[in-house]
């Protein structure tokens, strides 16, 4: 069985500076895979390249068996790869409902969209309560929920979440993480980028540790969680 996402020797550069220096990993359908690492390791760059917002300088990206390396962003979304970008990037002056609707921009099935909007409200009741409110008035955590709900609206085969816990209070972070666990239980395939290694690894089937543009360590989520060097470098133990 081929993996849903296959990344091979991916290299991305900003001008002359290479931010991702040849990484390879795969995501199988139904898995949660996480990329962890410090600031500047190239995690966000990787996700932005996968979703077509950046163009790679080398390597291969295959999604569902097709090469998406040179595809524009909107086509990649239509193939079923959704990206919830770092910093949430919700549309602050649109209503919550309009935000969700934009997530389903490429879908033509109106009834299905309505159903999925209700599903998003079930998943995040606070969004349903404030559906007519401008999204910018939500708190950081609620905005993150909206960003995730919006990404789910395109019915993705693979959901990429970039730093969903960034800047959130511990309680809100727990809530977001348990939502991700819930999505996993429902069978959503997720590629998760996180700085909070503990939380990400305990959810993940597979984990990859990135350091300055390279994957330095791979393994199962549990395996990495108990790995000596990972515990030292990322989980704050000495």
């Amino acid at each position: 069985m081929t993996a849903l996402l296959e990344v091979e020797d991916l290299r991305v550069a900003y001008g002359k500076i290479e931010a991702v220096k040849g990484i390879s990993f795969t995501v199988e359908a139904g898995q949660v895979v996480t990329l962890i690492g410090t600031n500047g390791a190239g995690k966000t760059t990787t996700l932005r390249t996968l979703s077509g917002l950046l163009k790679p300088v080398g390597g291969q990206i295959k999604f569902n068996g097709r090469s998406i390396k040179r595809m524009p962003a909107h086509q990649i979304v239509s193939l079923g790869l959704a990206h919830s970008p770092e910093g949430r990037h919700i549309f602050p002056r649109m209503t919550i409902e309009d935000n969700l609707r934009l997530g389903a921009f490429l879908r033509k099935d109106k009834d299905g969209v309505e159903k999925d909007i209700r599903r998003a409200y079930d998943l995040f009741p606070i969004l349903g309560e404030r559906r007519k409110q401008a999204a910018g008035t939500l708190s950081g955590g609620e905005q993150q929920m909206l960003a995730m709900g919006r990404a789910l609206m395109s019915q993705p085969k693979l959901l990429m979440l970039d730093e969903p816990s960034m800047g959130l209070s511990p309680i809100m972070m727990q809530k977001i993480m348990s939502t991700i666990a819930e999505l996993k239980a429902q069978g959503t395939t997720i590629l998760l980028v996180e700085q909070n290694a503990q939380a990400a690894l305990s959810l993940a089937d597979q984990g990859h540790v990135m350091e300055i543009g390279r994957i330095v360590l791979s393994g199962t989520g549990q395996g990495l969680l108990h790995d000596e060097s990972v515990r030292k470098a990322y989980l704050g133990e000495d």
Partner: protein, 609 residues
Amino acid sequence: MTTQITAPETPSAPAFGAKASGLFGIPAPVGRALAAGGGVLTVAATFLAWTWTAEFPGDLTVYGYPGGLQVLVLIGGVLTTLFALASHGVRGVRRIAPAGADAAVKLAALGTFATAWYTVLAISVELGGLVNLEPGGWIVAVTSLAALVGALALPFERPEPDPVDPDSTAWEKTAHRLAHGWQTVKAAFASGSPRPLRELPSWAEILVVVAILALGLTVFTYGIGTSYDELFIGFLLLAGFGFAALNKAGLVAHATQITGRHQNVTLCGAFVAAALFPFTQTDDQYATLGVYILIFATVALGLNIVVGLAGLLDLGYVAFLGVGAYAASLVSGSPSSPFGVHFPFWAAVLIGAVASLVFGVLIGAPTLRLRGDYLAIVTLGFGEIFRITANNLDGTSGPDLTNGSNGISSIPNLDILGFDFGAPHSVGGFTIGRFANYFFLMLVVTAVVVLVFRRSGNSRIGRAWVAIREDETAALAMGINGFRVKLIAFAVGACLAGLAGTVQAHVTYTVTPEQYLFAGAIPPNSAFLLAAVVLGGMGTIAGPLIGAALLFLIPNKLQFLGDYQLFAFGVALILLMRFRPEGLIPNRRRRLEFHDAADAPAALGRTGA
């Protein structure tokens, strides 16, 4: 023209640290009585003669009925009296101020005072001395001042006094005091949020809509028909303060709510009201202004799709108007057209719109990959390229197409289904002249543009435009094809401008390159178009229409400004951007953008993260 702008002109700066809760130490009931009495007496004074000679325009020499500027003062006086009574709590009248009448009476009195004193001063200055004032003039000066003093004495919630840091320098202390004074003035003109609107039966609400539109038509017709500078200035003063007063009284909010509930009725009604405009005129003089305003406003609305919805700053938009106008004039049968063909108008419209569309795509395709400032610079360049190219296609510098700087002249009048647009027609006893004919035609074009704007604004593509404007990264991540969506906005905008251009060619008889400048004294040009959109309110329908009407009328009516027109325009624009950046008619979303903290404190207060 908003409260915030006019507030610093308040002649009575508040005494700092005063204990009284009004701006003056007069008890509130006395203030109210003074305002109401002053209002009534001001109204009475407009029936007196203000000057002895008819040399001052407007016939202010007659006892018994008001004329010219007196009518404006009369309206102001009535408004002041009504709001003063409402502030006093008189039954029935109280209803006209759902958000509290105190701020409204202050503004109404200020407007009346400004108009009355402007008139009196204008008489004295123009005729050479106070001796030219009849008793009526003196009386109105005193009564309007009394009303203003009374109104300003009404209590308001003062901002918390903020102690001066004793270590600061003298300059910092002064700045601090000024800032506090400014806060106090702002507080004096602040009003609460309006009482919720009672649900009326829908026929009653529609009647209200009709009344609002009738008022709008009256105000517009009056403004366009002001025949001398003084009257127009008085009109602007009173209209500005009057609108601010109604706004503070909460009436504008209620009107918005009602028209919002009956959007289709309002829109249709607005077109009927606009179509009635030529029937209020006795000759074609002001219909000329009307049709020019309509052309300007329609193009501004087209630009609003590009700027207001899609957020693409286009500084060369007038070129598309030019393409449409040239295309129509070339096939109009004009003797200066090298083609020498005379197409029917529908074909000319089609050619003009398609030509503009093609130009829009041609210019947009390479430039829309740029963001923000770069796009603005490139479009500015393309606008100039169009004008200079049109100038050079004269047979000497290039192929003969546009007849160079002489332009395509003697464009024949339109003739649609036997209806000759060049000749006056008689409709139900009213004579409809040449410009009025074109006014009606242009109104149809405006309707088309409004329709396109509304339909696209509320559609999938409209949401995509707004998404691109708000956050391009996120929009791309949603699967929106940013480039294509922007190109559509650009092309639709261009096409609509071209449509207006086809009519413009016939209205102006001549199409020359100099009509399509980036900036010039006469609208439409790219700078004024953009200003109309920004001033009126981006992303709305009414905004650019009102903005364009003001931007056309003000330079047209205030001829005495002469060379200072552009300067005055610049100052006005800066003031507006400082005090009301969302434009006169703000879009719901835009208001959030500029007044986040003020409008959504409750929601912003509860941060869960």
